[in-house]
Symmetry: C2
Subunit: 311 residues, 2 copies
Amino acid sequence: MSTTALLAIDWGTTSARVYRLDAAGRLLDQRSAPLGISQVQERRYAEALAKLLGDWSCLSVPRLACGMIGSRQGWIEAPYIDCAASLDRLAAGLTRTPGGELIVVPGLITRDGRGIPDLMRGEETQLLGSLTPGDATRLIVLPGTHSKWALVRGDTVLDFATYLTGELYSVLLAHSLLGRLPMVDPASDNSAGDSSSSDEAFERGLQHARCCGPLTHDLFAARTLALTGELQPHEVAAWLSGLLIGREVHDALAWARSHVAGDPVSIVGEPALAARYAQALAGAGAAAQQDPPHAAARGLALIARQVGLLG
Amino acid sequence: MSTTALLAIDWGTTSARVYRLDAAGRLLDQRSAPLGISQVQERRYAEALAKLLGDWSCLSVPRLACGMIGSRQGWIEAPYIDCAASLDRLAAGLTRTPGGELIVVPGLITRDGRGIPDLMRGEETQLLGSLTPGDATRLIVLPGTHSKWALVRGDTVLDFATYLTGELYSVLLAHSLLGRLPMVDPASDNSAGDSSSSDEAFERGLQHARCCGPLTHDLFAARTLALTGELQPHEVAAWLSGLLIGREVHDALAWARSHVAGDPVSIVGEPALAARYAQALAGAGAAAQQDPPHAAARGLALIARQVGLLG
């Protein structure tokens, strides 16, 4: 452990992950715990940090964190930085907890043409970790509960937009009539036959999304197709996933169209979901590449270097 | 009770309502019970009917029912009738329970330009109850958990489309991050100040819907506007209602545009929700009229007369 130079922490709503990095920003080791800010009672964050770090608590190195830990409900609020936000401006917004236990990265705010705000906290650091040098404007997607699409250039996040895709998928399957048929969660589907049937249903959902009817009308088709037998009960989840991801990809590409050329879209996320986004992007005629994991660790290392926390 | 000629039953998923009608189809009395088909164990429908009717069980008159009682999960399946469906064709699809306890009205099925099915069961009878003579094609909306918009002419339902608006509103508020701020349900809001604030938030949601961004992106604004203080926590529900109803009205009017002239849209539903749809329609430049209550009773009387169950 003598080479440790930084503890880089990705501290979100439900879980927290700490990366042990050397002076060159290389990943030495990592630990995670279900200690997201929604899991910490009475703001006992110092205690949660000690639990997350374990024996790494003894290391006398800076601790730099991104994510919801910097929100109003977190340990200390690190106010949002306006877009376009460069690495430099983001680094200037670092906020320290009163006891000096943690340095916290701010989130980003942008406003669309209607003046409506959009927010991110945590993803800005993953975006930094996925930057590539150059003058071209690129499009990056971070799929998830609240998918983020960002336009980046050089070391700057120009603009971004959030889509509620993942959360909508979950709540509809768990709590609406659409989920009230017997179905197999594609993620837990082990039989080859059913898996290929799910893949096909996902593709059918994507195709349906390409026709672009009103979304709340198209959602109801998950029910009617199942009732008429045109969709098997165990295919409903995959079809719905295809519909929602397909629509998100369509809408986000339209949003980004005037800003980016034909460069591949970077996908930052866990492999199974990233593969589905790649499939949706391909269907929409857009090339895609899956970024390597641990973007948050790379982004935190970049910020640490910018402010001299790493040599 | 000597004048009773028909027991007309609107038997849905969560509740059931029976109307006692005279030979002219006039409403004499009504009763309801939380005995919808999701509440009836082991298909004990005969028992549920006896409980719903109470002492009306002794009346020797026909019992005509519409709604989910005619679905596969109901007492007996009354297969869907294709659109366009006239009163005559609907009446020809009546199905009788094996013991003769009940005559059941079929539902309707239609397919859009992409071949995707849409279904209704129960609403077809309310539509019949809202028909007016004449050759003009009219637009009727039945707001609710699954809002239905229908094109009707004379005694025929030409086509219809479902929007998942009400269910989406409920599951997002109850189970997503959008509902995880302190808020006041507008329906239970008694203070004049808060009520006008809710009305304003509903109108802001309507206006936001008129800009027509991607829905899953716009939904996230319910969160960001609350986080930036541009929407008070207790206004989130009303704003979300405005966004979803506004979008539904926009989409449905676009769907119906080529078929209807400027006749007022008929709204069939409970007064508070109908008023919100009227406001959304006005904002979209469309006139609206709220239909009188008990459309299901009127529709069942019409069907009964068509097949000679009423004189």
